[in-house]
Amino acid sequence: MIVVRQWMIKPLKKTTSRWVRSSCALVFLALLTACNPTELTPQNARSNVITNDGSFDNKAFIYDESPSILGGPNLGPAKVSMTPFLLREAKTITPNQNLTANCEMFFFNTPVKLEECIYGLSKASGTTQPLPRRADRTYIFPTNSPEFFQVNALYHISQATSTFFRKLSYAYSQSQQLLGLGVPKAIPYYLMSSRLFWFKALSSTDQRLFKNDYLTAYAQCEDGLASFDPAGPTICLGTLEDFPGFYTVQDPSVIYHEMGHAFVSVMMNLRNGTSGVSYHPFRTNLGSFGYDEAGSLNEGIADYYSYVMNARERFGEFALGRTVRQARPLTESDSLHPIPTLAESAEGRLSYPQYVLYDPNNPDDNVEDIHYAGQIVSHYLVALTKSLRSDCGYSRDRDGGHDRATSVTMLILSETLAELGDLNARGIDNGTVPLAGSNFFVNLDATSSYLWTQYNNPINYRRFFQTFAKNINKFVSYYNPAANRTGLCPDFTKNKSEKLLDDYGLLLFRTYNDNGTSTKSRAINYLSEVPGLGVSSVALTSVSENNRRKSVLISKQLIDLATRTDENPDRSSYYLVDSGSDIQEFLQALLFKGFPVPLSPNAAGTVYNNNNVKISPGEVVGIIPNLLNNSNSTMAGVQILATDWDHVHITDRSSGTFSPCVVDSFTTVDQGGEQGLTCADPTESTYRRLVRGADNLFPASAAAPVCLVLLEEGERSRWVSQNEFRKKQGLNLLDKDCLGYSTTATSDADFSFNPHECLARFLPGANEAFFSKIDSQKTYYESVIKESAQSKFNVGNLLLLEVNKWIPPGTKFRCRLRARFSNCSDCYTDGTNANDDFIDAEYNGARAFKVINFEFDVND
């Protein structure tokens, strides 16, 4: 609609001089060319300067790009008026009478609508009531006012959401077409009834899953640049103290990025509710505190969503670029990349793991951060989209194929995340209904699935891209006319897909792990649960090794703790942080990142920390294992776990006393190790911690805490459980004096207490560490920290160890940590079973890991 402003120049006709009249008219016209009706509205005064004849109902004037895109790269960031950047045509904001948006997703041709699924507000400290529509039935508020930004935020969030629903509808329809073809898929048919395509959950129990059943969008938050909070759920678009008058909401690409996080959260949980009454009590998250590959994937996908929305190959030009020089490119051709060898070619890709620490704005500085590592993901996804455009004939579309290609990519993403995030642990359904049998096909089982998705088999680059590649093969590349099915684009072949992954160093697997084995037994596959699939067998698809050029796989035997040698006299096996103030600061940082760490004030605390770089009674210390890469290639995505695992044989069910299994050459039979009995059995298929059951007995087999203690008995020393040690060593500690024992004012019962971590334990919430990469023949410190400008460790590098204040000095501990990495040749498969991946139960033991023996004495 064009707004004609004849009424504004009417008074000029009264001037007597034609020359003056013409000049004034020209000046006014010149001024008005950059204007629109909102500009004509005085601040906080009347806004009905337009005559709303109904054509402006529910509309407002919006900016569709940031000032950097519309006004030039040198504009801003502080106090930029949005006036010159408003579209000439008013856009519909919402049909509602307040600033809320509705959601609608189509399931084939059936729409499912969620009223008021998004609330647009200003700031958390302000009103919780959405802004009402103006009396003139428009949402036109004074430009640059808080109301104006709320309207613009809701507009862009609604755009992002409706695009997401359109693409998820497409994914749903493609996925359901596989029903009856013998092909398993993850997006559930019952999504329409579970309504988990949005945060609005099961209609009768919304309050059980979320704080609110709508997404709250704050346009001008007081807290930081931007955030997504899944527990709200809340999107927060903030500001930066150093740039008064700058608001994140001015940059729609960042709004799309934050909405990308929201959609990742939705996609990961598509399978976690099955009907109006059945849902899993947890939700899956992609990422932890500090650096990890799950968080990097989340950032990369969120950057990609910005590309989905605006088709531009750079993200955050204004909000990140003009403030802190941190805009991010999405393709290798972007001029932000200062490295001339980067190019959109097989050789020039931003490949893993070479570029995991790469900041294009400061290419000489190594910084471990999920946004930098996520660039590999975003570059790959954009490259895939471009390949689909060219190989699938989409480029002939009016938009160059952007919409169709991004829809296919979002299909693959949603299928992948739905499967990997399945806490009901099935991964597939029995046609249109959930599986009901006793077998599980992803994430071990419904009871331990959260532990598996976050710790034991978390989503790293290998696991994600293996599943992603499987879904490309299933939905896009598949070609088998005899089976009456071809994929969406058979011209984008399996070979092309593998080559593109390899160009990015992401061909980190040897098979597609697509033979449907159960999580607990290799002898069972999903055909036993879904006989109606109509196929008699499921084959394992292998990667063509000819396509592997860049993606180097390394044996786990080549990673270990560093040791001091003549050639490297300053190498440390680990770094210890025992300054009370540093640890307290770290604990606070963890808490405000949403990671509660339950300390044991009865037995330990930072008040005992003495900053002597040794482990003393009562301390809470940070441990940073300094891992050494003995191979000739770079290791990446290194995870070290201090969580309980199946490494002991329980000898007495009344006390839970155990003998450690012999898993390496460190703990031998002579030192109290056990080789036979339950240690010789396959790993426990059910995860259960070593705590007393309702029958007052410990289980016959269980996952035990990692730290053993050395018990001296006459001539013999043996590694034993901490429970045995405290009883035999005469410590006479009550349970309530142990670490991890919770009591209240009136009750001293703690039924989930584990007495086998009474003396030393890695704290829950800080019992996993992650390291971006370790260069060939170097330690982690030498590869990353020493080379960085700050020489500081990422918070994700630390394990927190709590030490009981009653431990006699001189007590020796051995903690059996488990390490693995993403480009590992034998951490996920050992070459048997045609390179099929380990089943989930095997991640409960030693087989998939290199056991790292971390030893320490307690000093006085």
Partner: protein
């Protein structure tokens, strides 16, 4: 003995006694062992096998296909108590200390959770914390409904830092690589 030397002797004795008392109070002293608290026999629970509920609450973690059999012999070892809230808040206080300015708990669900071979009454809670330096966070926890012990936590916020170099990091103790 002069009055002055008597005074000095008294001060010395007092100091010695005080020092000894301080030493004894700080020195780790073995505590007499006692019986390990054991799960109490379950009081009468209202088990609804058809609805798979205990005391009107759903039961999460039953083995598929064996739900009813499992429920018939289920023993829930803890008992809900309003003290869970204080227990949970004290956990946050121990971790966050003075940095916490405001804590809000919103209970959103109660159920029986079977995990680690134990059935526990649990509360699912949304936690909101406000701290110094405009720090805020919201996340979710599952806690023991009797003592507030955290059994699981999830749904942490994703916070965009403007410049990753300014994120909180741990400095290396200079004693490790002294020249």
């Amino acid at each position: 003995m002069t009055r002055r030397s008597l005074l000095l002797s008294s001060i010395l004795v007092a100091l010695l006694l005080g020092g000894a008392a301080l030493y004894l109070s700080l020195r780790p002293v073995p505590v007499a062992t006692g019986p390990t608290p054991s799960p109490k026999a379950s009081a009468k629970l209202r088990v609804d096998v058809d609805r798979l509920q205990v005391n009107g609450l759903r039961v999460v973690g039953l083995a598929p296909g064996r739900e009813r059999d499992q429920l018939r012999t289920l023993s829930v070892v803890n008992r809900p108590s309003p003290e869970w809230e204080e227990g949970l808040l004290s956990t946050f206080r121990a971790q966050g200390g003075q940095a916490i300015k405001q804590m809000n708990l919103k209970k959103v669900d109660s159920f029986v959770w079977i995990h680690d071979g134990l059935a526990l009454f649990v509360e699912s809670v949304i936690v909101s914390l406000k701290g110094d330096q405009n720090r805020e966070t919201t996340f979710r926890v599952l806690v023991d409904a009797q003592n507030g012990k955290i059994l699981q936590h999830w749904d942490q916020p994703i916070v965009e830092s403007p410049n990753p170099r300014e994120n909180f990091r741990i400095k290396l103790d200079p004693r490790y690589h002294e020249e």
